[in-house]
């Protein structure tokens, strides 16, 4: 999913899939696993109906290695 225009990075958690989800400045959503260098292992988010994204404070971005 892409949203036009630059946006602030946002972090979410999907409790169903138990994964971090990151929206980058381009509006792209990524799943980020709980590994070393997590951002390097990101995958495009595959939206599913049962997903419920819950906002996570922005300061967690460094834990996930998000470079923005």
């Amino acid at each position: 999913m892409t949203i036009s225009g630059k946006q602030l990075v946002a972090i979410f958690v999907d409790r169903v899939s138990q994964q971090w989800v990151v929206r980058d400045p381009e509006g792209n959503f990524w799943t980020v696993p709980s590994l070393e260098n997590p951002w390097d292992h990101r995958q495009p988010l595959e939206w599913r109906d049962e997903m419920e994204l819950e906002a996570v404070p922005g300061h967690y971005k460094d834990i996930l290695g998000v470079p923005f």
């Binding site: 602030l8 946002a10 958690v13 409790r15 138990q18 994964q19 971090w20 709980s34 590994l35 070393e36 997590p38 819950e54 906002a55 996570v56 404070p57 922005g58 300061h59 967690y60 460094d62 834990i63 290695g65």
Partner: protein, 917 residues
């Protein structure tokens, strides 16, 4: 003279960091605005007590009886476990605003027993039940109770029945600024032997997770086993520190990192997370503490079994001295815990005794001396490292103040200039673990008894560019920095300056000047923002008095229109007087300020006259009642006084200051301009006390109330059926018990009745009440005013006190009488009972409880029982200043002028008074 004075001087003169380590850990970091990243700003429910053990904090740390450095990089505190609780007792438990019938409330018993101003000696007491802590019972029972019922307290649960609890005393004693000795004494007050797990815990505040720096601090066990375990703490800024743990303990290590599985449902990258020590000790979980004995959070796990009536001691030492230095330097037989350890603790305790002996007037009883000492200890323990970078916080919420289409923040998005990261005096480190600007000004009045340097630093801090808004507003508090608090900063500033001047022989004029410049901005902010009509009549909303009005004064009025506030205008009159005092002082050596003195003199007259004149027949003064009221101005042009007899109407009495005439004597031209102004505007003088009138000593009085009005207001204030209680001046007249003020707007009834205890509404969170109880800060202001009037009118001005009693008193005696009643809240009465503890027999009778004092937020209007926040030593600590003041100052002293008070105070605190001041 106590060695503590030397430490204060070394801190001031040579920057020896005696204050680097102190009680700067909060009692509650969860449930605060700064940790709240919820969409709607629901701070209490976003980051809960239940999460706190598992979730790393962003901005600060909390703990039990804890200390940290002044930037809170490294923290030390106590954790306890009685073997029955579901979690370690790592932090104090309390109810959130919505869980309790009277708002948030800590449900624990802990006491700040002692502290010196450099924290070279501190003592804290925590009372821990041996039975399972009744977490659920407290929540469920409190939720069921109505606002008309009392709060449900921990004692009510039976947790202390049969004295089955531990008294855990924690003492800190500094051998040097970087060498802190810790002594934990566990008493078993119960009838049977009982085991307690004691876990002194050392940890780093988590900064590394949020900044992506490679500078991660580390804790590591460097020496294990009997008799001493040693943990080394390495930090890129602090350098190396060591925690020496005496005796038999198991060292447990983990990381101060969020348990993401528990909080967010996502697997942890490491098994070592914030709550690992809890899970290991309480639940016996394997594999959750690091077997390599390293991490960012470590605890020494002691298990002590204490026989009934006996005690056991655990000793630790937190220092920059490496093990090798103990081995070869001191020649002690047993390293850090040799004979010297107990000597040092004893010596620091004796220093503290000597320090308090030097500031305690000899005429005070032992009981009063204990009240004074614990009040000041509480104020010193209430220092906290307060960290909040608002711009960063907004960014982390996804809000950008410079983008029009930004995501809205529920609060504070116009305060993005703010970067706070300092040790600040808190109102109450559990219930109000954030600074409140007007509280802080009151704190300083008492703190300057023991540490004038800290008082000055605190006042200046609020005026710094990292705190004060660019537009000149002083931040109120984190729930809404833009709220409007009474402007008392200038008063605390001139008070502190005069005190230091009396103590040192000269004041810190540079400090006063720099404060004056910033206060000038703040004054201008008030004038430009809060005087709607430009007629020198001020609004300001609730102005710190929460539910005192018939309407919420911070919200749009249900009637439409607006309020002209007697208190808002009186506060500004006092602000003017204080600015005039500062300008007059500075003008003694700098002529530029003489003009400013005249400016504030005239501005005071405009404001005072506005209170007297504005509104014609519906001004704030009610001639029939002899009292001041808020005036409601309706959209259709009609007006009405809201005839609620409250503290709002007493505040005009507080806006009074005596002037000695120094500026006019030094600058005759200023005097001539002032005379011209007075002659040109006789209508200004007509409505207030005539400022041209000098008394026998050539003094002038700036006062809204002339003598006639003063006598009429005092008659109400000193009437025991109205404001005067046995324990001070009530916030609302008792008259309204039988005569509630009622107003109908449409079908809605608005009512104000006398409520001597807790609030019965949810207005302002429902956890405070200005409709009857006694509040220490405004009583302090009233006492100040009475002393000003006395300095002007002298001994011959007498009033009946209490009204109707036939007893005539001068105003010094009236002030002393009010202070005596306020002090009686805390002192034992003839039956040995302390009114502050009301009907709590445990506190009244038990020798292990009755001399441990709590300084509540406010007090029952009829019986003096403590209400609201239980550790608000902050402004309630003013009682220490009152005890000191009336034990050292006599009525005749004030005949020599009000500066005599400061000189007497200087002598009474053991510091030489000036010869030429």
């Amino acid at each position: 003279m106590s060695a503590e004075y030397d430490r204060l001087e070394e801190t001031r003169e040579r920057s020896v960091p005696w204050k680097k380590w102190g009680p700067y850990l909060s009692e509650r970091q969860w449930g605060t605005v700064r940790e709240d990243y919820s969409e709607g700003g629901d701070a209490w429910n976003y980051f809960t007590h239940d999460q706190a053990r598992s979730r790393a904090y962003r901005w600060g740390e909390d703990g039990l009886a804890g200390i940290s450095d002044d930037k809170q990089r490294l923290c030390f505190a106590l954790a306890l476990w009685n073997g029955k609780d579901p979690i370690l007792k790592e932090r104090l438990f309390g109810l959130t605003n919505s869980e309790s019938n009277h708002g948030e409330d800590v449900k624990e018993y802990y006491f700040y027993l002692d502290s010196t101003p450099t924290h070279s000696y501190m003592k804290y007491l925590y009372k821990y039940p041996q039975s399972a802590f009744p977490y659920a019972n407290l929540v469920e029972t409190s939720r069921r109770r109505s606002r008309q019922e009392f709060e449900y307290e921990l004692l009510d649960t039976g947790a202390f029945d049969n004295d089955r609890y531990f008294d855990v005393f924690v003492e800190y004693a500094k051998s040097s600024p970087e060498d802190v000795l810790v002594r934990i004494t566990v008493h078993n007050r119960g009838p049977e032997a009982a085991e307690l797990h004691v876990l002194p815990t050392l940890w780093f505040r988590n900064e590394w997770s949020w900044h992506a720096t490679g500078d991660r601090p580390a804790l590591k066990l460097v020496s294990a086993g009997q008799p001493v375990n040693v943990v080394r703490a390495s930090d890129p800024v602090l350098g190396e520190r060591y925690l020496y743990c005496d005796g038999d303990a198991t060292l447990l290590f983990t990381e101060n990192e969020t348990n993401t599985l528990r909080i967010f449902g996502v697997a942890n990258r490491s098994p070592y997370v914030k709550d690992s020590i809890n899970d290991h000790v309480v639940n016996g979980r394997e594999g959750v503490v690091n077997p390599e004995k390293k991490g960012t959070k470590a605890a020494a796990h002691y298990r002590v079994t204490v026989k009934p009536g006996e005690s056991q001691i655990i000793r630790l030492r937190f220092t920059d001295a490496a093990p090798v230095s103990f081995a070869k330097a001191n020649g002690e037989p047993a390293g850090p815990f040799g004979l010297r350890f107990d000597e040092i603790v004893r010596s620091r305790r004796e220093d503290a005794d000597a320090f308090y002996a030097s500031i305690t007037p000899p005429s005070l009883s032992a009981d009063a001396a204990n009240v004074l000492r614990q009040a000041l200890a509480g104020m010193l323990w209430s220092k906290q490292f307060y960290h909040y970078d608002v711009d960063k916080w907004l960014e982390e919420r996804g809000s950008d103040p410079f983008k029009l289409a930004r995501k809205a923040s529920p609060r504070n998005d116009r305060w993005h200039h703010m970067y706070n990261g300092d040790v600040v005096s808190m109102p109450d480190k559990w219930e109000y673990p954030w600074y409140a600007a007007w509280d802080l000004a009151f704190h300083v009045l008492a703190l300057t008894l023991v540490d004038p340097d800290f008082g000055k630093q605190q006042l200046k801090l609020m005026l710094r560019e990292r705190y004060m808004h660019p537009n000149g507003q002083i931040p109120a508090y984190e729930w809404n920095f833009g709220d409007v608090n009474p402007p008392v900063h200038a008063w605390a500033t001139i008070f502190t300056y005069r005190l230091e001047k009396a103590q040192n022989g000269e004041g810190d004029r540079e400090w006063l000047k720099s404060c004056f410049q910033k206060l000038l901005m703040n004054f201008t902010w008030w004038v430009n923002r809060k005087d709607r009509s430009g007629r020198n009549v001020f609004e300001g909303g609730f102005l710190g008095l929460d539910n005192i009005g018939v309407f919420d004064r911070s919200a749009p009025l249900p009637t439409g229109g607006y309020l002209e506030q007697a208190d808002g205008t009186a506060w500004m009159a006092l602000f003017c007087q204080n600015m005039l005092e500062i300008a007059a002082e500075l003008a003694m050596t700098d002529p530029d300020y003489a003009d400013m003195a005249l400016k504030f003199c005239e501005h005071f007259l405009w404001i005072a006259a506005a209170i007297g004149n504005v509104g014609g027949d519906t001004g704030m003064w009610d001639e029939e009642d002899g009292f001041y009221y808020d005036v409601l101005r309706l959209p259709d042009g009609r007006s009405q006084r809201l005839k609620v007899r409250s503290m709002v109407g007493l505040l005009p009495l507080c806006a009074t200051t005596v002037f000695e005439g120094g500026v006019i004597a030094k600058y005759p031209e200023i005097g001539q301009r002032f005379q011209w102004f007075l002659q040109a505007r006789p209508e200004l003088r007509a409505a207030i006390h005539d400022p041209a009138k000098t008394n026998w000593a050539g003094r002038r009085l700036a006062s809204i109330l002339d003598e006639t009005k003063l006598r009429r207001v005092l008659a109400k204030m000193l009437d025991e059926n109205e404001f005067l209680s046995n324990y001070g001046i009530r916030s609302l007249s008792r008259f309204h018990a039988d005569h509630p003020f009622v107003m109908h707007v449409g079908s809605q009834e608005y009512r104000v009745a006398y409520l001597p205890a807790e609030s019965d509404t949810g207005m302002f969170g429902g956890n405070s009440n200005w409709r009857g109880p006694i509040w220490m800060p405004v009583n302090g202001l009233i006492i100040r005013a009475l002393l000003q009037y006395h300095t002007y009118y002298g001994d011959d001005f007498k009033v009946e006190c209490p009204t109707g009693s036939g007893r005539q008193m001068n105003l010094f005696q009236v002030a002393e009488e009010i202070a005596r009643r306020l002090s009686n809240i805390f002192l034992r009465d003839k039956n040995g009972r302390r009114p502050v503890y009301g009907g709590s027999e445990k506190f009244q009778q038990d020798p292990n409880w009755r001399d441990c004092l709590l300084f509540y937020e406010y007090f029952h209007g009829d019986n003096g029982a403590g209400l609201g926040a239980s550790h608000q030593t902050g402004w309630t600590g003013i009682v220490a200043r009152l005890l000191h003041l009336f034990a050292t100052l006599k009525s005749e002293d004030l005949c020599a002028g009000k500066i005599a008070y400061f000189e007497k105070q200087a002598r009474a605190t053991g510091v030489a008074a000036p010869t030429g001041g």
